[in-house]
Amino acid sequence: MIEMNRTVFAIACVGALWFAAPGWAHHSFAAEFDENKPVKLHGVVTKMEWINPHSWIHMDVKGDDGKVVNWAIECGSPNTLFRRGLNKNSLPEGTEINVDGYHAKDGENKANGRDVTLSDGRKLFLGANPDADK
């Protein structure tokens, strides 16, 4: 058997490893967001966009200087979120949320939504119940 090095293996698997390893985003989040720039945002939802391939939450965040900046947070596939029970009423305008993610590399006010927590501490993107059949 011919041993593959890591890079060749990666090339061999582009578009193929996808089906074997569910922990992959549609496109590379690491190409889009900077692992050296973690962000923690607190603010209110201004809009939720149910668009393919990934949904986006828009939120107003007040900075230390009192200035309000609108951020866009990239989230999961709308089809999956919908099947998980989220819908257009789940995050109404004005909902207070905390976001834990990484800043976009191009410097725009965008981040990935690694964790989205409501003001009462409930996590929006809780994992599915490991004991549940779905």
Partner: protein
């Protein structure tokens, strides 16, 4: 056909015989494959190495494996650095299933008997090595990005990004393999044609069953040129004319894919496939998935529509180039 393969087919048909069940028919007398089917599962594509030659789980092993897989998929995946950005998402994001396939196999691959994809040919390995070297050299310059594979990849223009990022195909159609989410397929039949709508990226395969030949080899398709025929109650689909970029596990444009669809019960559709790509793999390999009926509807997944990520990836590469140019200018 090998004895093993016949055995597998018969095993798949057993429930049908047991219940004296006959597949419903379409107006032209063929079995109806129509409906919405899912292949989501925690059964791995390849058998984990520690399971050796064990092809089937016992009920106890299945229970333990299922529990471990569910916990693994739901745990906090954070590991620091780039891993957090690439992989730190739990099962709320994904919909890759929580159950093993009904056949209780330890892998989707059934042949070779070790349940693993055979090695690539030396020729194909050299080709991929050459591509990898070219990328490595290019990525010594700024403007590269970390691809889904975790490796660097050029990102100067959309054409350099992989098919998945470009919303062209997700590798879930040929062969029909489960992925992270949207593992739903709708089959509709008409006289002389079967169509399969794949929820992931909304790919539709239109399979003529009218005896028409393949397109000339000069015409290449992302998901190949499928032609179907009936062998008894089984729909056999033969696909050729692939573009090399589709890459099934390192495969190339010479992929010849043979798929078999057999109704085995009111809620089951046995899907079997063989990947025959002699220039890429040292031998053919086959897999099978008993798909199950699922509640609809299929949702639209018009991936191009809001593919902001692709624009952001290219913008990130441009920002990287700009920063490098500024740093170089500052040094002068």
């Amino acid at each position: 056909m090998t004895v093993r393969f016949v055995g597998i087919v018969l095993l798949g048909l057993l429930p049908a015989f047991g219940q004296n069940w006959t597949a419903p028919r379409t107006s032209d007398g063929h079995p109806s494959l129509e409906g919405i089917w899912t292949n989501k599962t925690i059964t791995p594509m390849e058998r984990p190495k520690d399971l050796g030659d064990k092809a089937f789980f016992t009920p106890e092993e299945a229970k333990a494996y299922t529990q471990a897989a569910r916990q693994r998929n739901n745990k906090d995946q954070r590991g620091g650095g780039v891993r957090d950005v690439l992989y730190a998402y739990n099962d709320f994001w994904w919909d890759s299933g929580t159950k093993l396939l009904g056949n209780m196999r330890t892998s989707i691959i059934v042949d070779p008997p070790d349940g693993r994809i055979p090695p690539l040919t030396a020729h194909r390995m050299a080709q991929l090595q050459e591509q990898a070297e070219a990328i490595k050299i290019r990525c010594k310059q700024p403007g590269c990005a970390i691809a889904n594979s975790g490796q660097m990849s050029p990102s100067d223009k959309p054409e350099e990004l992989d098919l998945m990022t470009r919303c062209i195909s997700f590798g879930t159609v040929v062969p029909m393999m489960p992925s992270a989410y949207n593992n739903d397929y709708q089959i509709v039949q008409g006289p002389g044609v079967v169509a399969i709508d794949t929820e992931m990226v909304h790919d539709v395969r239109r399979i003529p069953t009218d005896g028409s030949p393949h397109l000339p080899l000069s015409v290449r398709e992302w998901i190949g040129d499928p032609r179907g025929h009936w062998e008894g109650d089984t729909l056999v689909v033969d696909s050729t004319n692939f573009k090399g970029e589709t890459r099934v596990r390192g495969g190339d444009e010479n992929l010849h894919l043979i798929e078999r669809f057999t109704r085995t019960g009111p809620d089951t559709l046995l899907y079997q496939f063989t990947v025959d790509d002699p220039t890429a793999f040292t031998k053919p390999w086959s897999g099978e998935i008993p798909m199950t009926k699922t509640e609809g509807p299929l949702y639209e997944y018009a991936c191009h529509e809001g593919n902001i990520g692709m624009k952001d990836i290219i913008a990130a590469a441009k920002a990287d180039e700009k920063k490098a140019a500024e740093q170089a200018a500052g040094k002068k």
